[in-house]
Symmetry: none
Amino acid sequence: MDTRVAIIEDDASIREAVRQLIDGTRGFRCSGAWRTAEEGLRSVGAAQSDVLLLDIHLPGMHGTDAAALFHAQWPAMPIVMFTVFEDDERIFTSLCNGASGYVLKKTPPQKLLDAIVEARSGGAPMSPDIARRVVQLFRTIRPAAAPPHGLTPTEVRLLGLLAEGHSYQAAAERMEVTINTVRNHIRSIYEKMHVHSKSAAVGKALRAGII
Amino acid sequence: MDTRVAIIEDDASIREAVRQLIDGTRGFRCSGAWRTAEEGLRSVGAAQSDVLLLDIHLPGMHGTDAAALFHAQWPAMPIVMFTVFEDDERIFTSLCNGASGYVLKKTPPQKLLDAIVEARSGGAPMSPDIARRVVQLFRTIRPAAAPPHGLTPTEVRLLGLLAEGHSYQAAAERMEVTINTVRNHIRSIYEKMHVHSKSAAVGKALRAGII
DNA sequence: CGTCCTATGACATGAACATGCTCTTCTCAA
DNA sequence: TTGAGAAGAGCATGTTCATGTCATAGGACG
């Protein structure tokens, strides 16, 4: 299954260039490209995207704010900020608002594709400069460390999809496995978390900061 | 000029393997390899290293604590944690203590060399899993502004019970109403929240800070 | 004084879930 | 190199859920 990428970018030439890069690469497909966050918010859900590329400087709502709305509505869809800005404020806000990656527009095409793949597989793609700043920002803050949960990455991803409201069948399609495999993962999640229902697992996972 | 790498790692076989990897690669040179942080602290300065590879599980002082001492004494020398641990606590402590990278021991040799180069050039090399965790830690410090949700107190209470894993029947008993009433409340919760399942409602409610 | 909203209760039915088994493949550490 | 653990896949069975439709009673509001 192709990786479906949605793009929100106001500069038409950049937008089309990225779209062509994505549609022109095996294994990738552009599921939609919009000029503003507002337009994307109305359409990106229907587009069933795996990853969202989100510009920051947009007409209307800023990308940093839009990230929060997209993340609230589709928490399982990784958001990769795609911008020229590399100031701490925007990086910090974006990541706090739910973005999972942050790549600069000067990133070469292949690296951008790598970042999309990394984001889809649950990673956190960042341009080197950004990664450095993130680590530096880290030293200035004190987030609460989550306790170890013993869940595998697959199980965490599945939990995320369940929290979004997916059925077993829908989650299986997203994860590209059969429903039986999903059942088994759920089974081990329940064992590890000591729960016996989807909603209990989702509740516990969110409160524990696992997802 | 070669990139001079110092290693602190208690496992002799790993230590020697890394030393050979580094010394066997053009452009890299091992400037020293020690078994404990204490030994390293006495020698690494003289060794004039560009990058320090620091294990966490060490006899004597832990790598996470040692990072603070190394960073205080040689602030310009990037420290890359090199470990099997990927729990939030150790990641968090290491980065706060001055480490600028965090790579897992399962990292393939070429990637490890890449990480060293990236660290030397001011970057923040991190294994994909680690980068993901770092970004997730960021999200925990988001100041959540609770938007109005339109749910009645009864509905919120019911949502709380569902999030704890109660079934309709169990929730009905807790609320001292019949299961049919619970069904009807759930129905209006779903309408207001635009969801169609318990887990979706619980997921959305927790992320929105309703419960 | 109607009427909108909330809370309450009921019945029915098809879909989704929870959990009991068995099985293969792969990786990694002992 | 063997064995444990994780991921993946399948099947069966009983339970719970999601949603349709219908109904009564008490506040709130203009």
